[in-house]
Subunit: 289 residues, 2 copies
């Protein structure tokens, strides 16, 4: 048993500052962190980079860029600015992997507003805008040695957070770009239900696109805020041994990030969350890597 | 503008008895109903059949059979019995189309329970049990001139209600059987997010499997009971003109059922619900059929 490849995504210990989080993982014997930009911003970018460097931690990813579906000139410019800032942050923090949640549809316009070919409900057009924006960012990212990592989100979030819902769909978008520039993340919470998952993981491996493997469980009922419905590995419905083997069979040798959004878990002491996380990882994930 | 192909699924007017529902649709000029078994059972099967016959209504479908994923002998026997009863009911009510919600995984067994190849979290095995049960029911259904209609459910429900999540997946299962015996339903709520939707609808049409087209909208936030989060056509994110055109281009000439689960809509007078439903249908669906 080893936690060598285990990484704490700081979203899991939401109440911890960045400094508390890096101290917490060091105390727990964890060697890697996935960073959310909110905690990095609070600490200040240079100080955040110094903190992880001083503790000798790897940074498995930076979460997150994205939200690229705006259709207006202002919206597009704002999105590009924000993503360029995220690319600089990733580079400064010492990670190549910038996770991209690509964005959803605009708010539902109501029945009076017809859905036109370019209208607010046009998923195909929204997906094309994602491709266009990635194309505009990829050179800047390469210049900073950062990879844009497309994250398929569970179709539960197709309307408001990500118009890319499957790993296969993300690979189709990624295939327009070099694998050094655009990758994908496999997050069990988002993809566990997909009937084509195994084949998509094989393809992601063959194409050299797997930038991150993230784990958390699908639990029911959903939380009042649907986004915060994730559970610790083993508390829900996901078959971690099987999916982990599929990922391992591709030759993926990177970190395994635990990323959990859950109000009840956030209310617990961070040390306890890390202890549970390590227990579940060593029993249900690590033996299958 | 015509409501000739519009059908009220009685789940939409949940507080109405079957008699109130059939009188309501006749008063509103609607010619077809999709029936839920609970209302049929309350009225009594023969009386229910008489009611729809006397009012001269078509029965577009019976909802629902399914829940076929049990792994125990008792669970399997119970499921087969219940589905044979549903087949008899469909036949008696005068519809060929029995909608099948195939069932989810067993309740999450907790982290102490390892996920084995035949374990509770094994989606592939659960899907195979669905195929096996359909195979055991299809002869009985044919004998009653009833078609088993597989319903892909949104991946939101993959854990607890349906291990078939996409239209393509349902077509793959259906392809083992004759198109007169096993069909599919296209329910916008469940499939709108699917990047392969257009191709899957084309395939469903080519293979003669489209047994029903159901419409309701994806609205946010989700309701406290996620199942009851559907909205009237036009109130949410779904592009009805586009999806309706895709269905129409297959040559589908059957009814369009409005099936909405929503506590707020259920609390309103049925007449008002039907008026809204007709308004939205005639503006956003019917022109594209």
């Amino acid at each position: 048993m080893s936690t060598h490849r285990l990484s704490l995504n700081t979203a899991t210990t939401k109440r911890w500052t960045l400094e508390e989080a890096v101290d917490g993982v060091v105390a727990a014997g964890i060697e890697s962190v996935g960073l959310w930009r909110d905690r990095v911003a609070e600490a200040g970018l240079e100080r955040a980079a110094q903190l992880v460097r001083e503790r000798g931690l790897r940074v498995s990813s930076l979460c997150r860029g994205g939200f690229l579906t705006a259709a207006t000139e202002t919206g597009i410019a704002t999105a590009l600015d924000d993503n360029r800032a995220a690319i600089v942050e990733a580079s400064t923090l010492g990670t190549r992997e910038l996770i991209m949640v690509v964005g959803g549809l605009p708010a539902a316009p109501g029945p009076e507003q017809p859905a036109t070919p370019d209208g607010d409900r046009d998923l195909v057009a929204a997906r094309q805008r994602v491709v266009d924006r990635i194309g505009e960012l990829v050179g800047f990212a390469r210049g900073h040695d950062v990879r844009l990592v497309l994250e398929p989100l569970h179709p539960l979030f197709a309307a408001d957070r990500a118009v890319l819902s499957t790993l296969g769909q993300c690979l189709d978008v990624a295939s327009r770009f070099d694998a050094r520039d655009v990758g994908v993340v496999i997050d069990t919470y988002h993809v566990w239900w997909d009937p084509h998952l195994r084949g998509e993981i094989v393809r992601a491996g063959q194409e050299g696109r797997i930038a991150s493997y993230q784990v958390s469980d699908w639990i029911l009922p959903l939380a009042p805020v649907a986004l915060n419905s994730r559970g610790h590995v083993g508390d829900g419905y996901i078959d971690f041994p099987t999916i982990t083997r599929w990922v391992a069979e591709t030759g993926y040798a990177g970190d395994v990030e635990v990323e959990i959004f859950n109000e009840e878990i956030w209310a617990q002491p961070g040390e306890r969350t890390l202890a549970t996380m390590i227990d579940r990882y060593t029993r249900l994930v690590e033996p299958h890597l």
